[in-house]
């Protein structure tokens, strides 16, 4: 088991470094961040000064090695725009994104799992058809359509803060600010979860042990709640795990629409300004989270199923 974990972790590190090398190269393809300012060409002397300030006068491979070395000490460099510590920018944005991701996941579960169960239990009834229609709709609506209409029609009403709102007014309750972007994010996901749940539940309901449970005279409630649900929820949990990782990488569109100060908005602004160190840091963070999560999943699977670790 120990050998397996070490092998997996080594692979993970390789994947991270390879992905970062790819991002690093892609950033250079975007273009030179210091060549121009608006419609104006930056004087060559100033360009040279800036390149040496940010270490871009060194050869590319060396720049990458320096970046990796600094990263292991927690130093993500300073950004090209405001010259702030990238690590502190990421540190400020991250709690917001974690909060948004958690609320979105909770909404996913509430809406998706319940709708899925209803559809499965009342198969081929009105409720099942309703869930099918709604999930089809939800899967078809792009997140920005939903986001923009929520921003235009719902923000500023009830207890939801206006968008944009003054930075100098009273701070709204965190949940009031997070619930609409979370909803915009959760709707599509929840529809997917509902379908997943329905399918897996139906399969389980056909299983022998459900028949046995019923034969033992258990109430329908116990059969579904205790036996069917537990067994059919596994694929949903796997899906949610990956979904959570995706959300942590920043929900660019949703955060930008709702002016929500998370990692996604940070990435959006950095891309606009050719702020390469920040783009690099956010992308690397997303890769690390992803690799980390799949590593955990792999290890769990291996623990549960010895066949995986031996192959």
């Amino acid at each position: 088991m120990g050998k397996f974990i070490i092998r997996r972790m080594a692979q993970g590190v390789l994947v991270i470094i390879a992905a970062m090398a790819a991002i690093f190269l892609a950033l250079f393809a975007i273009g030179d961040p210091f060549s121009s300012s608006g419609d104006k060409v930056v004087p060559p002397d100033t360009q040279a000064l800036l390149r040496s300030k940010f270490g871009l006068d060194k050869p590319l491979p060396l720049q990458f090695v320096i970046y990796l070395k600094n990263m292991f000490t927690g130093d993500l460099g300073i950004d090209y725009d405001q010259r702030r510590q990238v690590s502190s920018m990421l540190g400020e944005a991250l709690p917001h994104t974690v909060r948004l991701a958690l609320v979105a996941i909770v909404l996913d579960i509430l809406i998706g799992v319940i709708a899925g169960i209803i559809a499965a239990v009342f198969r081929y009834t009105f409720w099942d058809v309703l869930v099918t229609i709604l999930t089809t709709l939800a899967l078809g609506v792009p997140v920005f359509v939903l986001g923009l209409s929520l921003r235009a029609n719902v923000t500023g009403h009830f207890f939801f803060p206006a968008v944009p709102r003054s930075a100098f007014g009273e701070e709204p309750f965190w949940l009031a600010e997070v619930i609409l972007p979370a909803l915009a994010l959760a709707v599509t996901d929840a529809a997917f979860v509902a379908r997943l749940m329905r399918g897996s539940m139906l399969e389980v309901m056909r299983a022998d042990y459900i028949r046995t449970a019923r034969a033992k005279g258990l109430s329908e409630r116990t059969v579904i709640g205790r036996h069917a649900l537990r067994n059919s929820v596994i694929p949903v949990v796997t899906y949610m795990g990956i979904g959570f990782g995706t959300l942590l990488g920043g929900a660019i569109i949703t955060e930008t629409i709702f002016l929500y100060p998370g990692v996604g908005l940070l990435l959006f602004k950095s891309i606009q300004n050719n702020n390469n160190p920040v783009i690099m840091a956010v992308a690397a963070f997303a890769v690390i989270v992803f690799v980390g999560l799949s590593l955990i999943v792999d290890i769990l699977y291996a623990y549960l199923d010895p066949r995986i670790r031996l192959s």
Binding site: K40, V42, P43, T46, A162, F168, L259, N273
Partner: protein
């Protein structure tokens, strides 16, 4: 080098364009924009009119004025650069001179400025007794200290190059000196500046915030505490440090020494990521008292707000144009350029694409420079199909000739560039290869050796002089090359057309050496006549026009300052 589609940019760009959030969110360079609004005094019938000049009335102290702001790069003069950063820095600091919204120069920290005979030495007499908000006196030393700090190598300033004509700048930039040899502050009341490159308009440069005076607490250029909470001698001061990505709050400086104090108690800037989209939404939901307007919403914004006198529209310091490559076929022939310009129906584009919010230009120096403005100096900036066809034939611009045309994506240029393409294909039978590229690539492509065809471009002056529309774009020196016609080397300056005309350069040099503003104006006019009127080295399309909304239910004196921001030095509650 040409069409790069990088996955990251492309993916985000696509989604964002879909949201109609792009471009508008990008920071604006001072005086320049994505450049898609125009106006022209000479043709008041075409397009929407400017709103009347606001008559400034005495105000009363009080009130908080709220605005949306794209997060600036810096608000410390060391690196304040785009319109947003300059907006804040301009009201925290008062430099040697002030500039009115119409470009007229006024006294600032200096009460008098005088050049010597050949304009190589300048003496600025400072107003005595003026103080920074921490009580430190503003003396010539405050300027010397500040300029040395901004030009120092360690500061790595992106705007220090504005000081380039001052003696000793190079040594500071490369780190071989720590003092400005061309700046003499031995008399606290007089600042003496020696230039390596004599210029009778040097004083106009000092309006840029990089020339602002600083108190000693500023420390070095990378002093984070001061970067986030600069302290100056301007009409406003910071209420607290800049809260990154949240807001900046200014309060009135009650000890302001350089003229009328501000009326507003406070100005709150809430930082918004989507530029004019968020500003406009925030104006509509009551969060902001001032807003820029996204182009698609212009018609509605005007009809909603003009009846309430909340609508401000002004032709400003800028021009939109097409940049032709003068040394490569097919536009190396002046007749070919004239044919192109005559075949463009700017009026149809203004009405069809812009619904009247844009008006065609007939000069390169815009109307905001009232004295220098020459309506119609570009005699070929009109639609004349017959003449166009005739000239095209003479120039060998025969039907089927290929023409490369490029613009930057995401700035709202797609529609009208497509219209130009269509017109040129229909009217002259050309085969136009229109491509959209990233902004940085567009500039790179223009600079590249053997660039050919037409490029979308826009320009705004850094200093309030018509010369700033001509010298950086059209003088031989501004190619940054020893031999501008050497097509094997890329251009390193802003003269990407590689225009080089001795007669034109001589006129500009004469203007630079002339102490009389009237004479300079005349020389600039002659120079414009040669470069634009005769040679059509750049093809003007639309003059820059800016539109704003202001909450006139609560505030008076709503106007734009020279940098197109809300002029909070005069705005007051009712």
């Amino acid at each position: 080098m040409s069409t790069k589609s990088v996955w990251l940019r492309a993916a985000v760009g696509l989604t964002v364009a879909g949201l109609a959030l792009a471009g508008c969110a990008k920071k604006e360079n001072t005086g320049t924009s994505g450049g898609n609004q125009g106006g022209n005094n000479a043709q008041p019938t075409a397009g929407w009119p400017e709103t009347a000049e606001v008559k400034i009335q005495p105000g009363k102290p009080g009130g908080t004025f709220r605005q949306g702001l794209t997060e600036p790069t810096a608000i410390d003069p060391v690196n304040a650069q785009e319109s947003e950063g300059i907006n804040i820095a301009q009201y925290i600091f008062t430099g040697l001179i002030k500039v009115d919204p119409d470009g007229a120069t006024k006294e600032g920290a200096a009460t008098k400025w005088e050049p010597n005979n050949d304009c190589s030495e300048w003496t600025f007499t400072l107003k005595a007794g003026a103080k920074f908000t921490n009580g430190e006196e503003v003396t010539s030393q405050s300027f010397k200290f500040a300029w040395e700090r901004e030009a120092a190598k360690a500061s790595a300033s992106e705007v220090a190059y504005h000081m380039e004509p001052i003696k000793g700048f190079k040594e500071l930039q490369d780190g071989t000196a720590t003092t400005f040899s061309g700046v003499d502050a031995s008399d606290p009341g007089k600042l003496k500046v020696t230039l390596t490159d004599p210029d009778c308009e040097f004083y106009l440069r000092t309006y840029h915030t990089v020339f602002a005076p600083l108190p000693k607490v500023a420390g070095a250029g990378d002093n984070k505490a001061f970067n986030d909470m600069p302290l100056g001698n301007g009409p406003f001061k910071m209420a607290g440090p800049w809260q990154h990505d949240k807001g900046i709050k200014l309060v009135r400086n009650d000890d302001y020494a350089y003229g009328q104090k501000a009326y507003l108690d406070a100005v709150e800037f809430t930082i918004v990521p989507n530029g004019n989209n968020d500003e406009y939404d925030g104006f509509n939901n009551g969060t902001f008292d001032w807003a820029r307007i996204p182009v698609p919403a212009l018609t509605k914004a005007r009809s909603d707000n003009e009846p309430k006198s909340q609508w401000i529209r002004k032709n400003t310091n800028g021009i939109n144009y097409l940049l032709p490559m003068l040394h490569e076929k097919p536009l190396d022939n002046v007749k070919a350029r004239q044919a192109i310009s005559l075949a463009l129906d700017r009026g149809a584009v203004a009405e069809g694409v812009f619904k009247g919010s844009q008006i065609p230009a007939t000069s390169f120096v815009p109307g905001v420079f009232k004295k220098a403005y020459q309506a119609g100096v570009c005699g070929f900036c009109k639609f004349d199909l017959e003449q166009a066809k005739k000239l095209a034939q003479e120039a060998g611009l025969t039907p089927g000739t290929e023409l490369n045309m490029q613009f930057n994506s995401g700035g709202g240029h797609e529609e009208y560039m497509a219209a130009y393409k269509q017109q040129l294909e229909k009217n002259l039978g050309l085969k136009v290869n229109l491509t959209a590229v990233q902004f940085k690539d567009l500039l790179n492509n223009e600079q590249a050796p053997h660039a050919t065809g037409l490029y979308r471009a826009a320009w705004g002056a850094d200093y309030a002089t018509p010369g700033n529309f001509l010298a950086p774009l059209l003088s031989c020196k501004a190619t940054g090359l020893d031999d501008p016609s050497d097509l094997s080397k890329p251009v390193v300056g802003d003269n990407r057309a590689r225009y080089c005309n001795k007669q034109f350069d001589d006129l500009l040099n004469k203007a630079k050496a002339s102490k009389s503003e009237d004479e300079r104006t005349k020389l600039y006019q002659q120079a414009e006549k040669i470069a634009i009127g005769d040679d059509l080295a750049l093809i003007p399309t639309f003059v820059r026009t800016q539109n704003r909304l202001c909450n006139t239910a609560k505030f008076i004196n709503c106007r734009m300052d020279f940098n197109e921001n809300a002029d909070i030095s005069v705005i007051s509650i009712k």
